[in-house]
């Protein structure tokens, strides 16, 4: 089943929110990425076909935004902020600890395909650093113990096949909220 078929209702809901179909591109890319695991060329072509855009447009957006992955990633993407403020609160050491624990480097995925570690720029939670974003969900005030607990929880979920993600909820909620985006002024 393609993502177009699986999320037909959601896609329709998202597109309906905007005066121009094209504006629905980012949420649709999130949905496609969630469904396929990453933004493969085919996933990009699929999104482009839905919105009557050239596939190159999708590729360009995927390249611009760090939240779209063009290579396969683990089931959980741990995006640790190591921007200046976080670094001052020990983010770099935290990244090192996390990498050692999972036996991977930055931008690498564990052998079991569960975790990918990435470092990212500001997530706007400097006061709660070290922090990370796991599949769009914030985990804050972290230390080694809390990180261990997080990993244990995620592994448990994966074993039970109830992968925790906020992507679909967020997007579907967004699709259902029905708030119309209105055009301000004319182009």
């Amino acid at each position: 089943m393609t993502f177009t078929e699986k999320y037909a209702a959601e896609i329709e809901g998202i597109i309906a929110r905007f005066p121009h179909k094209k504006s629905a591109v980012l949420p649709l890319m999130h949905l496609a990425q969630h469904y396929y695991g990453y933004m493969s060329d085919d996933a990009m072509r699929e999104v482009a076909a839905i919105l009557d855009l050239d596939p190159t447009h999708i590729l360009s957006l995927a390249g611009f935004y760090t939240l779209y992955y063009e290579e396969p990633v683990g089931k959980y993407v741990l995006e640790i902020c190591n921007d200046l403020a976080c670094a001052l609160r020990g983010a770099d050491q935290f990244v090192e600890m996390a990498c050692n624990k999972l036996e991977v480097g930055v931008d690498e995925t564990t052998a079991d395909g569960l975790f990918t570690i990435k470092t990212v720029m500001c997530l706007a939670a400097c006061d709660r650093a070290p922090m990370l974003q796991c599949n769009l969900k914030f985990e804050e005030h972290l230390d080694e113990a809390k990180f261990d607990a997080l990993l244990a929880r995620l592994r448990e979920q994966a074993a039970a096949e109830t992968i925790e993600t906020s992507v679909v909820e967020k997007i579907t909620a967004y699709a259902k909220s029905g708030n119309q985006v209105s055009v301000i002024g004319n182009r």
Binding site: D41, A48, D54, P55, T56, H57, L59, S60, A62, F64
Partner: protein
């Protein structure tokens, strides 16, 4: 003159139209503000910061609004604290611009240093080296040293194919986005874009095939560095070795102006060869753009299988012979044959060739039977009367004007016209499209009317009738609305093509549209500047063929003949019946085109050609002709613009100009001495064809200054397109410009409209053909025979995407790949990527896989 704004640039006062940008105003007085991302044909973006200048505005008293004056009586000028980008600032009254101050010099130096931070120093092997804006501006404004650490230079991929025609060198790219903006703004093919950010930024494509646009080559012209290069020229030559030669498109009816870059080189055996083709500026024709067929098709000129020597059939075999023997033989065989002989020509030949072709047959061989070998569209006699008026420029159409396009897919048939019409619509012109199917142009149309294949004439007639009636119809009718929009427009241009039409139908449509241009009685559209009819001819010189009298019923200059000769169809029938015993074929391939099965009962067949075509293989005498790249001559565009082209490379083998061959045989038949040069033949043309009166090779070579200024020392401004130094051509006046024209008879042309699914042929820019098949770089782009059907019809025919079916066309089976096309009307099927066939046929699928 309130629309003029006066400002001062470096102490020089200049007056420019309202809305002009500072860089353009400076350009007008020869002050070259350096730019990279700015291009006069693109919207300004101010990305590269190269054009930073000091801009000051006169100070006004807030209370009175009066100018504040200095002690010496000059206006006080307030310069901002920072430099501003000259490419994004619009001029205003009293503005003062400084481009030669220390802050400006420092800014230029810094920007260059920054742009070079990861630029490689591979100028010695770079295609652009020698005509490179970055190189030139670095020499002019760069510091010569850098504070940057060389070890921090990024190493990036240098051979990234964006498709097989265009290559990207990532290190050289300075991220100006000219290419991306061109593809999006100008040609509406946004198939390349930026990927990633900052220093990792790169240009990518995800289209299939890569960089899927008919205009891709233009991005290499406007690229201000060597980041984008074409695969045919890459590492092929250095710019300073190239000799530019002016030429004209040998395919397209709009008559795009080209420049060949030629070089004499050892690896081609000491011959001069064409290394690349670039646009030549003609703002009335193609501006500074050409499509990829015009750019890449030149390879046929030096193809190894070009005919080198005359061939004569001896003992059943074609063997090489001398010119004298061949000419004697042809003259001897044709002498006195009269009406037993006939001639067929192509519409790629020059006016000189075509004029002497008809003279040779009519006066030398004394036969009235001559025609184009493969005529696909009629109406030359109509455009001669109400064709687009002389002095017109499609680039001037906009708000208040209207364009109607009937039965033509301009994007495939003549992309230059597609671009010009699209831009006119974007400037506000009303665009009405009558078509059997959706095309790329529909997106820009205000009214789109689809008809069933076979109903083009009826629909056009409805449009004309609706335009004639002033009364309001009770119900809003799309045809009536469109007709009103057309007829009330200030200027009206009508295009018509031949998609899915029989010859007779194209003739009627030309006349109906002619009448549309005459509807407004006393003040008709026809005859006024920027008004008139344009036939979307299939070739570069179909217009010239009409003008020269390559028509069974017309002599040169549309002189109606008392007793018309046989047309091509009758000649083909005569070949089979034996009524025609000798046939002279020049620049056309009836057997290859499937119009003639074999030699029939011919006693004698002469073929004058570049290649050993299917027809040439069966000939008694084959005469090697020169291609247009080897000689000079003139073509007449679909806008009736007579344009000169010039010799670029030496003749292949012993080949001769088509007109010379005809004149030399004609000499034996008593037609007088062979002219020395094409220019003398043209003199004869100018005497015989009234509309060409006053034209000669000198008047056709006239130029005048054009905007934007390009191709001078400042390549950075407009790109590497060439300045036009060899002629803008001359448009001849249609009859309606001088005197009122009577409306045309439009007899009904009953056609057999098949029941069931109707099949039409659609043109494709890269449809295989004699010339294009020789262009190796285009091999992968050639259109494959494809059958478009809509889903309902597909299920009825029991076919699906990817099926290979044999389609019956005129009794021949054409294999084609099925492609579902949801946009087609039910009952309409389209065959694309196959040679021309006329009209509408019933789709018959013979077996499928």
């Amino acid at each position: 003159m309130s629309d003029l704004i006066t400002l001062t640039i470096d102490g020089t006062a200049v007056s420019v139209p309202k809305g002009t940008l500072v860089v353009d105003a400076a350009k007008k007085i020869g002050n070259d503000i350096p730019v990279f991302c700015y291009h006069p044909k693109l919207e300004p973006v101010g990305m590269c910061r190269m054009c930073l200048v000091e801009i000051g505005l006169p100070v006004r008293d807030r209370a009175t609004g009066e100018l504040v004056l200095n002690a010496d009586g000059t206006p006080q000028v307030n310069f901002g604290r920072t430099l501003q980008t000259g490419c994004t600032i619009v001029v205003s009254e009293g503005m003062v611009v400084r481009t030669n101050t220390q802050p400006v010099d420092e800014a230029r130096e810094s920007v260059i240093e920054f742009l070079l931070s990861s630029h490689p120093l591979d100028c010695p092997i770079c295609d652009k080296g020698g005509e490179c804006p970055l190189q030139n501006l670095t020499m002019a404004h760069g510091a010569g040293t850098t504070q940057m650490d060389y070890s921090l230079k990024l190493k990036m991929d240098k051979h990234v194919p964006l498709g097989e025609l265009i290559y990207l060198d990532r290190e050289r790219c300075i991220q100006c986005a000219r290419c991306i903006r061109f593809q999006e703004e100008i040609v509406d093919d946004p198939v390349i874009r930026f990927h990633n950010r900052g220093r990792s930024l790169e240009i990518v494509t995800l289209s299939d095939p890569g960089f899927d646009s008919y205009w891709s080559g233009n991005t290499t012209d406007i690229c201000p560095v060597g980041a984008l290069t074409t695969s045919d020229f890459r590492f092929g030559a250095r710019p300073w070795e190239l000799i530019p030669v002016a030429s004209i498109s040998v395919h397209s009816p709009a008559g795009a102006n080209l420049t060949f870059s030629t070089r004499r080189e050892a690896k081609s055996g000491g011959r001069s060869v064409i290394k690349r083709v670039l646009p030549r500026q003609n703002e009335n024709v193609n501006e500074i753009w050409i499509h990829d067929r015009d750019r890449f098709v030149h390879q046929f000129a030096d193809a190894p299988d070009r005919l080198q020597k005359p061939l004569i059939r001896k003992n059943g075999q074609l063997v090489e012979a001398g010119w004298e023997e061949a000419i004697e033989l042809v003259a001897h065989k044709l002498n006195g044959l009269g009406e037993k002989a006939a001639g067929l020509s192509g519409d790629r030949l020059s006016n000189e060739d075509l004029f002497l072709f008809q003279k040779f047959l009519r006066q030398g061989v004394k036969t009235p039977h001559l025609d184009l070998g493969n005529r696909t569209i009629m109406g030359g006699d109509v455009t001669a009367k109400v064709g687009i008026s002389s002095g017109s420029n499609l680039g001037e159409l906009g708000q208040g004007d209207a364009i109607v396009v009937v039965a033509s897919d301009l994007h495939e048939e003549e992309p230059i016209w597609w671009l010009r019409v699209k831009q006119a619509a974007q400037r506000g012109a009303t665009l009405v499209i009558l078509s059997a199917r959706p095309t790329r142009l529909d997106k820009f149309a205000s009214h789109t009317i689809y008809y069933r294949p076979g109903e083009a004439v009826a629909t056009t007639r409805q449009l004309l009738n609706a335009a004639k009636i002033a009364v309001e119809t009770a119900e809003p009718d799309p045809i009536k609305t469109a007709a009103d929009a057309l007829i009330n427009a200030q200027n009206l241009v009508a295009f018509y093509g031949a998609e899915g039409l029989t010859l007779a139908e194209t003739d009627t449509i030309a006349r109906l549209l002619g009448n549309l241009l005459l509807v407004k009685g006393e003040q008709p559209h026809a005859g006024r500047k920027n008004n008139g009819l344009i036939a979307v001819w299939p070739h570069n010189n179909t217009q010239g063929a009409w003008d020269m009298g390559i028509h069974p019923a017309f002599g040169p200059g549309y002189k109606a003949l008392d007793i018309p000769g046989k047309d091509a169809a009758a000649i083909y029938a005569g070949v089979q019946s034996g009524e025609i015993s000798a046939l002279y074929v020049a620049g056309t391939d009836p057997i290859g085109d499937g119009l003639l099965a074999d030699r029939g009962k011919l006693d004698f067949l002469v073929v004058q050609e570049l290649f050993l075509t299917e027809t040439a293989k069966l000939a008694d005498v084959v005469l090697p002709a020169q291609s247009w790249a080897e000689r000079d001559g003139t073509f007449t565009s679909g806008e009736r613009r007579v344009q000169r082209y010039y010799p670029a490379i030496p003749p292949v083998g012993e080949s001769r100009e088509d007109w010379r061959i005809l004149a030399q045989i004609g000499e034996k038949l008593g037609l007088g001495k062979t002219p020395f040069a094409a220019s003398l033949v043209f003199k004869e043309v100018a005497t015989a064809v009234p509309a060409y009166k006053g034209m000669d090779y000198r008047s056709l070579a006239r130029v005048e200054e054009q905007w934007p200024i390009i191709g001078r020392s400042d390549l950075y401004y407009g790109g590497t397109a060439y300045d036009n130094k060899h002629g803008l051509g001359q448009q001849w006046a249609a009859a309606a410009e001088a005197a009122a024209v009577e409306s045309f008879d439009t007899a009904d042309t009953p056609t057999n409209q098949p029941d069931g699914i109707r099949l039409i042929r659609a043109a494709a820019l890269f449809t295989p053909g004699t010339l294009i098949n020789h262009a190796e770089v285009l091999a992968e782009r050639l259109a494959k025979p494809t059958l478009w059907v809509n889903e309902a019809d597909a299920s009825h025919l029991q076919v699906a995407d990817g099926y290979v079916v044999n389609v019956a066309v005129n009794g021949r089976a054409v294999p084609a790949i099925v492609q579902m096309n949801g946009k087609l009307l039910k009952g309409t099927a389209v065959l694309r990527g196959v040679p021309y066939f006329p009209g509408v046929v019933q789709l018959e699928v013979i077996g499928n896989r």
